[in-house]
């Protein structure tokens, strides 16, 4: 219901902007801040055992078909996010690959999915509001009934998350929507609810910030209780604290994301791109809004153009008429 109302208001604002040329309502964009009730996931690479339960849970919860690799048609074996895979656990290995969370001769896991950016490029890019960010939870959802399949979201997404099945006759964009259908029922996103170690932990982003700070201050080697499933579930898992890399991915990248990452190895090992704090959205939209703020400049220019054309055209017609008259007179003579 809230979505409908918001969409109505947005539409109304748009119509007013066009009809009444009201600059204020069309120029609503500022750099986005974290919504008050923002929900997200904290993925702790050091807790992940690579069991892939989250991948199976995700497929089941979202009715996604398996991705078969090679000849076999028994095992779901996606190699990356795909039109059938919204969530994947990938592995980094180095050398002998013996030690967990070591950069040399070690291995580590990473969970890839939509990061639900605080200032999402895809939402700004989408011409028909098929991708929207919930004002309250901050979840970025997709509406296939609006989508025209232009794929600007794919070009715009800095993490290459939205996928499109080019082999389908009439495809749609697929990406993680944080199991918003389960959240609406008071449940937890499937990947977090099935995660046995709490590596994927669901919760309010502000609560997850507290948890992150707590983990950063843990003494490596000492046993701590880690919450499992969701931050307020009460269930915990005992685990010896690892040595975390100081960087928490998603805290600041391009304005921050609601899915955040802690790990024992640096994030470039997982091919997670290093990004500045400012989002590309604010850069490109800054230019766009400066010019098209409430369509005032374009309309002023249009008025000027029409005036000039009218003047020049009338002058030209007068000349043509005169020429024609001259010719007529010549003919008469």
């Amino acid at each position: 219901m809230t979505i409908k109302r918001r969409d109505f208001l947005k539409g109304a604002a748009g119509s007013i902007a066009i009809l009444a040329l009201d600059g204020q309502s069309a120029h609503a964009r500022t750099v986005q801040a974290l919504p008050p009730e923002a929900l997200g996931i904290l993925y702790d690479s050091t807790l992940c055992v690579g069991c892939n339960a989250c991948m199976a849970g995700c497929k089941k919860a979202n009715n996604m078909p398996p991705d078969f690799v090679g000849e076999q048609d028994i095992w779901d074996q996606p190699v990356d996010l795909s039109p059938n895979t919204l969530n994947i656990i990938k592995k980094f290995t180095n050398g002998t690959g013996e030690t967990k969370d070591a950069e040399i001769d070690g291995y580590a896991f990473i969970k890839r999915q939509c990061l639900h950016c605080v200032d999402p490029s895809c939402v700004t890019a989408c011409p028909v509001s098929a991708l929207t960010k919930d004002n309250n939870t901050g979840i970025v959802t997709y509406n296939k009934n609006a989508c025209i399949g232009c794929r600007y979201c794919q070009v715009a997404c800095p993490y290459n998350i939205p996928k499109f099945d080019f082999n389908n006759i009439y495809p749609q964009i697929v990406k993680c929507q944080l199991c918003d259908h389960l959240i609406a029922e008071g449940k937890v996103p499937a990947c977090c609810s099935v995660c046995p170690t709490g590596a994927a932990l669901f919760g309010r982003v502000t609560d997850l910030y507290v948890e992150i700070r707590k983990r950063q201050q843990m003494v490596p080697g000492k046993i701590y209780e880690y919450p499992v499933t969701s931050i307020d579930s009460g269930a915990t898992h005992s685990y010896a604290a690892p040595k975390y890399t100081p960087h928490v991915y998603g805290m600041e990248e391009l304005g921050g994301t609601q899915v955040m990452y802690m790990a024992g190895v640096s994030f470039d090992k997982f091919d997670m791109p290093a990004y500045p704090k400012e989002s590309f959205v604010s850069m490109s939209s800054g230019i766009q809004y400066a010019i098209y703020k409430g369509m005032v400049y374009p309309l002023v220019v249009l008025a000027g153009l029409v005036f000039m054309v009218k003047k020049n055209k009338q002058q030209e017609e007068a000349e043509t008429a005169e020429n024609a008259k001259d010719k007529k007179e010549e003919n008469h003579e």
């Binding site: 539409g11 990356d80 609006a146 025209i148 153009l305």
Partner: protein, 382 residues
């Protein structure tokens, strides 16, 4: 405008027939695309969601189709009436260029039956550059057909419609200048959002300005290109004097473009990257080298500009400008993760087919409708 008349003559020339054959092959691939999906024809993938259907047919194609825009600007806004004979042919080329860009978009978007959502006020996203471009191009196609409509009313002697058109034509021309100014610059803004996926040689906040300037330059170059060819093919008489005047305007705009382009690369400290010998660096150099050749011809040979030299300048400018746009949309774009893209045969055939349809329709129209004026060459200096 009554001087314009149909050229007449045989319709099924060799060129026309070849164009029809290529269009036929394209229609086969278009049918395949709708029956089996985009992937059955194109090499597009999740790393490169946009290929030549966007980069060539829309981004380069509409720049080629900016002749109508720049001529309307010159004749009706800046009031240079002497160029009037060039307006209608330019408008015709623009009309087909933009219309086929629209067709191409329809082939490219995956959920074409949902395209009506662009026109539902509650779905419109005013923050989206894509929305603005889609709206502008959609409207501009309509405006182009209406701007060109006097040709139809003259041909079929539709007096009532002619009078009505006369009353609104200045508003249409005004829109016909505003809309390309808006969406051609926005085609540049569009790729700003690609962020780090786009190489710094092209990802720059000046992209909107550079795209607008290349649209103007390529629009003029296309007028020269098309007027040179059609005056040869249809023996229309010498237009060199008029085209030489246009080339002066081009050299100013192109000079300004090159200053902005190179200064921006220099200021951002990317010149080293440009001369690093890397593939992208070389593409950057090639793109600007071509434009500089065009600039040199137009500027330093302005007083002894032969039709041939002018034609060469127009061609290098068209190629250089296209390369700039290709580089921005495909070649300089790297989504990472090992993705790669090269257009498939079917994908290319659709693009060739759309160009062929454009040429075929153009040759048909100039023979059947009053497009070209039987003008006296204006004060020929040679």
């Amino acid at each position: 405008m009554s001087e314009a008349r149909p050229l007449g003559g045989r319709i099924f020339t060799l060129t026309f027939s070849i164009c029809l054959i290529i269009s036929g092959i394209a229609l086969y691939f278009i049918a395949k695309r709708f029956m089996f999906g985009i992937g059955s024809v194109a090499n597009l993938n999740n790393g490169y969601p946009w290929g030549i259907w966007i980069a060539y047919d829309v981004v380069v194609g509409t720049a080629f189709a900016c002749g109508g825009y720049v001529m309307a600007l010159l004749v009706y806004v800046i009031n240079k009436g002497e160029y009037h004979p060039l307006v209608r042919p330019a408008l015709l080329a623009s009309m087909f260029g933009y219309t086929l860009a629209g067709v191409s978009v329809f082939l490219d978007i995956g959920r074409y039956l949902h395209a009506y959502n662009l026109y539902l006020p509650w779905q419109m996203n005013f923050h989206s550059v894509m929305f603005e471009v889609a709206m502008c191009i959609g409207t501009y196609i309509l405006v182009l057909w209406l701007e060109f409509a006097p040709t139809f009313t003259e041909k079929w002697k539709l007096e009532k419609y002619r009078k009505f058109l006369d009353k609104i034509i200045f508003a249409l021309i005004g829109l016909g200048v505003l809309l390309p100014t808006m969406h051609q610059s926005s085609l540049g803004t569009m790729m700003l959002m690609a962020g780090f996926k786009l190489d710094p040689l092209w990802h720059s906040s000046t992209l909107p300005l550079l795209f607008l300037l290349t649209a103007v330059i390529m629009g003029f170059a296309m007028v020269v290109f098309e007027a040179t060819i059609s005056s040869r093919v249809y023996s229309l008489g010498d237009e060199t004097a008029m085209l030489a005047k246009i080339s002066r305007i081009m050299s100013w705009v192109l000079g300004f473009y090159l200053v902005v382009r190179l200064q921006n690369i220099f200021m951002r400290g990317e010149m080293g990257h440009a001369f690093s010998g890397s593939f992208l660096g070389n593409m950057f150099l090639l793109e600007n080298f071509l434009l500089i050749i065009g600039f040199v011809i137009l500027t330093f040979f302005r007083n002894n500009l032969t039709p041939r030299l002018l034609f060469v300048a127009a061609v290098v400018i068209l190629v250089g400008g296209s390369l700039f746009r290709f580089n921005t949309y495909i070649i300089g774009f790297n989504p990472g993760n090992g993705w790669s893209y090269f257009p498939s045969v079917g994908e290319q055939m659709i693009t060739y087919g759309l160009v062929a349809m454009e040429i075929a329709a153009y040759t048909l129209f100039v023979k059947y409708f009053p497009v070209f004026s039987a003008h006296e060459p204006v004060t020929s200096t040679k």
